[in-house]
């Protein structure tokens, strides 16, 4: 054990990047690394979200807590979040979280004056900081871009009014899901599929089609010209073992061999819109580095024992 370095140099290959979506391969590393990245993306990449709501007038049908909860879950653009301070260790405002370094103020004023129901949406939230605004979905999604398509907070009928002041703060997903920038972060092991060509050739076309169709996802296909079974999309394979079972049922075990590559992962990252998906990955790597730095720096200090407990002792080889 002693002295053996497990250092590897993982590689990333980006397959697809959109504002709120990224797909990339992570190779030459193991599950611990991939999972750490996933976990950090979900829980520890900071964003800004509404955390404090002061309601002045609320004559809507929803109660104050209800509205506050809904406001909290609205994603705010948080490119600046990495640079912001947590309100709890903000020096400028004694930690009460009401200064430019750690907070953003929002105002919402809506009153329905017509007989038509008024939708109060995230578009009605007016920010004091133009860098932190509710995420705009209209352009990215493409449909209904003409309409104002914010997130509905509450609907008002004639005479109802909502007036409030909200303060957004920096936070992480571990504390509350509203601070999580990730809608979906998931990875899968890349499958490796070997078709036993000889055995496959012994099948009739009918058997081949039935075997190909036994997979719930479209992994295999039959080449129209050569009538050979080919792997259409290896990543569509969901490790469901259906084809293996089918092969066995057909009396041809070993028709195909499927392994999961232990050291390569295909990541899918979808962001809530708070930060770009690509930025989310980069931020996650940053956060992960910081965490590791924290461990390494306080390796031999006494407080490391307090801070990390057994982990610290363990790392020092205890």
């Amino acid at each position: 054990m002693e002295g053996v370095s497990y250092q590897r140099f993982p590689k990333i290959k980006i397959r697809e990047v959109k504002d709120d979506y990224a797909k990339f391969e992570l190779r030459e590393t193991d599950a611990s690394m991939a999972n750490a990245l996933r976990r950090v993306m979900i829980a520890e990449v900071p964003t800004v979200a509404i955390d404090l709501v002061e309601i002045e007038v609320n004559s809507s049908v929803l109660n104050d807590e209800f509205i506050a909860h809904r406001l909290g879950l609205i994603p705010l653009t948080s490119e600046r979040a990495m640079a912001m301070r947590f309100s709890r260790d903000c020096d400028a405002c004694d930690g009460d979280g009401q200064c430019e370094f750690c907070s953003v103020e929002f105002h919402l004023r809506a009153k329905c004056m017509t007989d038509e129901t008024l939708d109060v949406t995230s578009k009605d939230l007016i920010s004091s900081d133009h860098t932190v605004v509710p995420v705009d979905f209209s352009d990215s999604s493409g449909y209904d871009s003409a309409d104002k398509k914010g997130i509905i907070i509450v609907k008002l009928r004639r005479g109802q009014e909502l007036r409030l002041r909200a303060i957004a703060r920096k936070g992480i997903g571990k504390d509350h899901a509203k601070w999580s920038p990730a809608a979906t972060v998931t990875f899968m092991y890349e499958p490796e599929i070997h078709i036993n060509e000889d055995l496959m050739e012994s099948l009739t076309l009918e058997e081949k089609t039935s075997w190909v169709e036994s997979s719930p996802t479209k992994v295999f296909d039959i080449d129209a010209s050569s009538q050979q079974v080919v792997v259409a999309d290896a990543e569509a394979y969901t490790y469901d073992d259906e084809v293996l079972k089918k092969a066995e049922a057909m009396g041809k075990p070993g028709l195909v061999e499927i392994y999961a590559k232990e050291d390569s992962f295909i990541f899918t990252v979808e962001s809530t819109g708070a930060i770009k998906a690509s930025q989310l990955v980069l931020n996650a790597i940053d956060v992960l580095k910081q965490k590791l730095d924290a461990v390494r720096l306080s390796e031999d200090t006494v407080e490391a024992d307090d801070q990390f407990g057994e982990l610290g002792a363990h790392m020092r080889g205890g």
């Binding site: 209800f66 997903g173 509203k178 969901t238």
Partner: protein, 1157 residues
């Protein structure tokens, strides 16, 4: 001649049938199973006309429209006994519009204002009267219309209610929820429902065995004037009559003789000439002869001796003697005696005897008391009618008493207005009190029943619906018998087989099924004359001998023997044809009992019945075009009834029908076809998807739990002021629905959320049905609920005219901090955050509340003491004042209600349940990143342990998961109605699996999952998908309790008991036993004395009695020995010291003997 004709007819019929059968067979292969007509659209149509609580509404409407008039007509005169020419006559009665009269101004009421301001939703009872007025000489008849005699609480949505036939928008304007079914009353602001009462049917012969095993025939008679129970019992081979009015049993033959049946032969003929009957009758005849009774006169004299002596009995009143009177009026009172003609009664007794003997000869002829056909359901209308009758009669006698007193006065004032003396309060108060307490104490009818009305359960929408269909049992719950609790086959389609509570009331409390209707009374006389014109031979014209000729059937109408008919089947068919044609009421039932050779016709109220499709020789009368017309809206459910396509069958008539479940199963003998099989379940059981795949008790558990689930209660839920209200913040409609859900509106007022469930083990905090929850899901609002509690305060006015006052809060000083949420008016402001011990009303009450009147304005501040009310909520939690409502109560005191709201997110220990009787508490809450995930990025909301499945066998839950998963992936709500697979109201697992595969899931619903902690794939495929989860009202926050030191009981100085009193946790007998066995003596000592009630006493070593401690001299003194020489100080439980003193008070001297410790 006639006979021949029939046989020819029959033959022809037979041939025709044969041909038809053949033709069916011929057709069969050619067109395979002709697509059965989908009759489902009938159901929503049925429920549209019927509503969900039609039974209550119909019953109440019947009372208001018919019954109340009958009651008043029967007692329409108040005649002064002093001057019989002075009288008052009630000509007509009706119920007005719901309104209230305040200070002479009549104001219309609507139910919601009554709920909010603690009023009774009632309407005036208006009568038209005619009376004599004037002085001694000059008398004139006066008529007066619309005189109010009292106020009648009105059932919501009945024909008197303002909500009657209102559409959704109008209902909304009245503050009412359109989905609320009505069927209850609003009494003093609380909603009260009168439970359906189950009873044995009245006026019917029931053959049963008593405790000693003797066979008896009993009739519970009930007419407008009398109620009685007649029992004829066979004991030691002799037959006796048991009647309350007689001191002992009477030989039956004496009774017959007393009724004029002097000849034994005639009795034998009436019972039936079969020698087996005569043999059974012989001992009774001998008994009669042994008393030397041969004539009617002798028999009556014998009865006279047996009559119970009544304390206020006045023999002069009756001419013919009490025996005769009892026989006429009480003995089987349902058989009327006209002009002292006892013959119908004799025949009735003969039939009773015959039925009894049949039962003796053949045990199968015994009646089953649990048979639903022998039961009647008593509904609110009937109960209120009983009550009203009593109160009305009481009022009449009161009025009579007062006017007699006035008229008896020699010098009365010249004007005498009868109508002035009608008292209104007794009826109003009587109705209101009875409805609000639920205690029916009607002395006139010897009725003392408790708990008849209950507060409508408003915990969930389904709970309140279920409450309306609940049937409370006739037996007391403590009886340990299995018979009445068992599922009766005759319950099919009428009473829900699933919905019954667990525990002591199991099987006794029942619920109506979805389509069940409870009948109301129907006019009898036209039906009787119809029967005679259909060829019933009148009883009067028959000899005893003719009564039981073979092939002739007795016609029994509502328990009354009308006569006999020689061709019963034809008679029954004729009646049924008339019913289907709408010539007689649709709820009249005709039942040919082949075994008893009787045709029973019933038109009485309280029978349960349900609609079924009529079939002719196995072919449904409803054809494709009928359904099309229905869907197009040109045909209604009533049209189906009127056109004779559908009819109502009650439990008895079902025995004459052969009902096919589906049209495809119909045989030529089939007479009816079910509308939909899932209607055998009730409202609560109808929520369960795939209940026919579950183990039966699981469905029963869900029926109980569905009523505790939080969700939406009504559309007007936020305008209500219930004392306790649980709401879900984001209620959802179940992904896997049933037809019942759509029919009852559960999809609009759901009580649960669709959670993605992974069936796997995780962390060990999921054993014993605990579930592991995803923290992020909770953050996003899963299971979040609102609890609203009502606190009220009254600004009381006292007898000395002083009253409470609410004052401006203090801005500074000791209590200022606790008064921060108060407005300047001294009341908590809506929207303010309220913490435990905060004051929500700054009230002061006068110190002097009795004595002479004082002016309330001039009182100085010093005359008041603060009586502030502080909020006691969960410690450490912040609630919010939701609303403050002011109203005046009936004593016109200012009444202030505060609604305090608390939003809660789920925490460890909160109870959740799926719709399959699988409840569990939240075992732990885990971060999302630690939760397992699939490569699609799906992360479950909660994890359920797979051990919940094998023993519970809730396969329905698994199918729900599959169906839900298929539903979310293809975007269509899937269905899981009970028994719905053949008719397409439930998706088959096979098709669900196909959908799953089409969307890239495994057909089995299992997913390949990665551990969120390590990132490695899990060893097994995980069964994962959405299941509808309910949050139940049991939450730890309301239950958790611990105490260090705290309040003690005054008497024993031991800690108080119970969470509400911040009590201690008791080391009970068994816990103590454990400690003794373990030998932890010091721990016992600590728990039982040191932490409980230690008390230092002075004990005299000489006399062994307790002394006292003199604080001045600082020594203990024994008051018996009058010195302080031999005093020891020791510790004793205070309860022990108390015991000694109590013993001493009883002259028992406990002496303590001390030894050195």
């Amino acid at each position: 001649m006639r006979f021949k004709e029939e046989s020819v007819e029959e033959k022809l019929d037979h041939i025709k049938r044969k041909q038809e059968e053949m033709s069916i067979h011929k057709h069969f292969p050619a067109d395979p199973v002709k697509q059965a007509v989908d009759k489902f659209p009938l159901l929503p149509e049925f429920l549209k006309v019927r509503g969900l609580v039609k039974q209550h509404l119909d019953s109440f409407n019947y009372f208001v429209k018919t019954d109340i008039k009958k009651i008043v007509r029967a007692n329409d005169r108040i005649v002064s006994s002093v001057d019989p020419s002075i009288y008052l006559r009630f000509k007509d009665v009706r119920i007005g519009e719901p309104s209230i009269t305040v200070d002479g101004i009549s104001e219309k009421l609507n139910p919601h204002t009554c709920r909010l301001s603690d009023m009774t939703y009632a309407a005036p009872i208006l009568v038209n009267i005619e009376y004599i007025t004037g002085s001694h000489v000059q008398k004139t008849r006066v008529e007066k219309n619309d005189v109010v005699i009292g106020r009648m609480p009105i059932m919501l949505r009945s024909c008197c209610c303002v909500l009657y036939k209102k559409d959704e928008a109008e209902l909304a304007r009245l503050g009412e929820c359109p989905l609320d079914p009505g069927g209850y009353f609003v009494v003093k602001g609380t909603e009260k429902v009168i439970l359906i009462q189950e009873q044995l049917s009245k006026n019917r012969i029931i053959i049963d065995t008593d405790k000693k095993g003797n066979i008896n025939a009993s009739v519970t008679s009930s007419t407008e004037s009398t109620k009685s129970k007649t029992v004829i019992v066979m004991e030691k081979e002799k037959i006796w009559l048991q009647l309350n009015q007689f001191t002992s049993k009477i030989p039956i033959m004496i009774v017959m003789k007393a009724m004029g049946m002097e000849s034994d032969q005639e009795v034998v003929q009436m019972v039936g000439r079969n020698p087996r009957y005569s043999a059974l009758l012989l001992p009774s005849m001998e008994e009669c002869a042994s008393h030397g009774i041969y004539t009617q006169q002798q028999a009556l004299e014998f009865l006279e001796r047996k009559v119970k002596k009544l304390p206020f009995y006045n023999p002069s009143l009756e001419k013919e003697g009490r025996g005769m009177a009892i026989l006429r009026d009480t003995f089987i009172a349902n058989v009327p005696v006209r002009q002292n003609n006892f013959r119908p009664k004799c025949l009735y007794v003969a039939v009773m005897l015959r039925r009894m003997m049949d039962a003796i000869l053949n045990k199968d002829a015994m009646d089953d008391k649990d048979y639903v056909g022998n039961k009647r359901l008593e509904l609110s209308g009937q109960l209120i009618s009983l009550l009203f009758e009593d109160l009305f009669k009481t009022m009449i006698s009161e009025v009579k008493k007062t006017i007699d007193a006035i008229l008896a006065k020699p010098s009365r004032s010249s004007r005498f207005d009868f109508s002035q003396f009608i008292v209104r309060d007794s009826i109003t108060v009587g109705l209101e009190r009875t409805l609000s307490t639920g205690n029916w104490d009607v002395k006139r009818f010897r009725m003392h029943r408790k708990g008849m009305s209950q507060v409508v359960a408003r915990l969930s929408y389904i709970g309140s619906l279920g409450h309306m269909t609940k049937i409370s049992p006739q037996f007391e719950k403590s009886r340990k018998v299995s018979g009445p609790r068992a599922l009766q086959p005759s319950q099919w389609g009428m009473l829900c087989p699933c919905d019954t509570p667990e525990g002591e009331a199991c099987g006794l409390v029942k619920n109506l099924a979805l389509m069940t209707h409870v009948t109301t009374d129907e006019e009898e006389s036209p039906l009787i004359s119809l029967c005679y014109s259909l060829g019933v031979e009148d009883l009067e014209l028959l000899s005893g001998e003719e009564l039981h000729t073979p092939n002739s059937f007795l016609i029994i109408f509502n328990g009354l023997i009308l006569g006999k008919h020689r061709r019963p089947q034809r008679f029954a068919n004729a009646l049924r044809k008339l019913r289907r044609a709408g010539k007689i009421g649709e709820f009249v039932s005709v039942f040919v009992n082949e075994k008893q050779h009787c045709v029973y016709i019933a038109s009485d109220g309280g029978r349960v019945c349900r609609p079924v499709v009529i079939a002719d020789k196995g072919k449904s009368r409803i054809k494709e075009h009928h359904m099309k017309e229905l869907i197009d809206g040109v045909r209604t459910f009533d049209d189906f009834l009127r056109d004779g396509l559908i009819e109502y069958l009650d439990v008895n008539e079902e025995n004459n029908a052969l009902i096919a479940l589906y049209e495809a199963d119909a045989k030529p003998e089939t007479t009816h076809i079910e509308i939909e099989p899932f209607t055998i379940l009730g409202v609560c059981a109808g929520l369960i998807p795939f209940p026919h795949h579950n183990q039966s008790p699981r469905n029963t558990y869900q029926c109980a739990m569905g009523k505790q689930a939080m969700g939406n209660i009504a559309y007007n839920q936020l305008c209500r002021m219930d004392s306790l209200l649980y709401l879900l913040v984001y209620p959802q409609r179940p992904l896997l629905t049933t037809r019942t859900i759509e029919l009852v509106g559960y999809d609009k007022l759901g009580a649960g959320q669709n959670a993605t469930v992974a069936v796997m083990s995780y962390s060990g905090y999921d054993i014993e049905d605990a579930i592991v929850m995803n923290k992020s899901s909770l953050d996003r609002g899963f299971g979040r609920c609102i609890v609203m509690k009502k606190f009220s305060a009254v600004n009381q006015r006292y007898e000395n005219n002083a009253s409470d006052r609410i004052v401006r809060p203090l801005k500074v000083g000791h209590d200022a901090e606790r008064m921060q949420i108060l407005d300047d008016d001294g009341l908590a402001a809506p929207g303010e955050i309220i913490k435990p011990n905060d004051i929500y009303i700054n009230k002061e009450s006068p110190i002097i509340t009795k004595g002479p009147l004082i002016s309330p304005v001039g009182l100085p501040d010093s005359a008041y003491k603060p009586s502030r009310q502080t909020f006691k909520g969960p410690e450490g939690e912040a609630s919010v004042v939701d609303r403050v409502a002011l109203c005046s109560d009936k004593n016109s005191n200012l009444c202030i209600k505060f609604l305090i709201r608390h939003t809660r997110r789920p925490e460890v220990g909160d109870k959740f349940s799926s719709r399959h009787g699988q409840k569990g508490v939240c075992g732990t809450i885990i971060q999302q990143e630690d939760f397992p995930f699939s490569e699609r990025g799906i992360c479950p909301d909660l994890i359920m342990n797979p051990h919940g499945f094998p023993s519970r066998m809730t396969v329905g839950k698994m199918i729900e998961l599959l169906g839900g998963k298929a539903g979310v992936s293809c975007g269509r709500f899937h269905y899981g109605s009970a028994f719905g697979e053949p008719s397409g109201h439930a998706d088959k697992v096979e098709t669900i699996s196909k959908t799953l595969v089409k969307h890239g899931f495994s057909y089995s619903g299992k997913d390949f999952i990665y551990s969120g902690i390590t990132g490695c794939p899990l060893q097994a495929y995980i069964f994962m998908g959405p299941i509808y989860y309910q949050k139940l009202k049991h939450m730890v926050l309301d239950k958790m309790h611990a105490r260090g030191s705290g309040p003690r009981v005054m008497l024993t100085r031991q800690p108080t008991e119970g969470r509400a009193r911040n009590g201690g946790l008791r080391v009970g007998e068994m816990e103590r036993d454990c400690l003794i066995a373990y030998g932890a003596s010091m721990l016992i000592f600590e728990r039982l004395m040191v932490s409980s009630d230690p008390f230092e006493v002075q004990v005299c070593r000489v006399c062994g009695l307790l002394g006292y401690y003199n604080h001045k001299l600082k020594i203990g003194i024994c008051s018996t020995c009058k010195n302080g020489d031999n005093i020891s100080t020791m510790k004793l439980p205070y309860a022990c010291k108390l015991l000694f003193q109590e013993l001493q008070a009883m002259n028992v001297v406990p002496r303590l003997k001390l030894t050195e410790a």
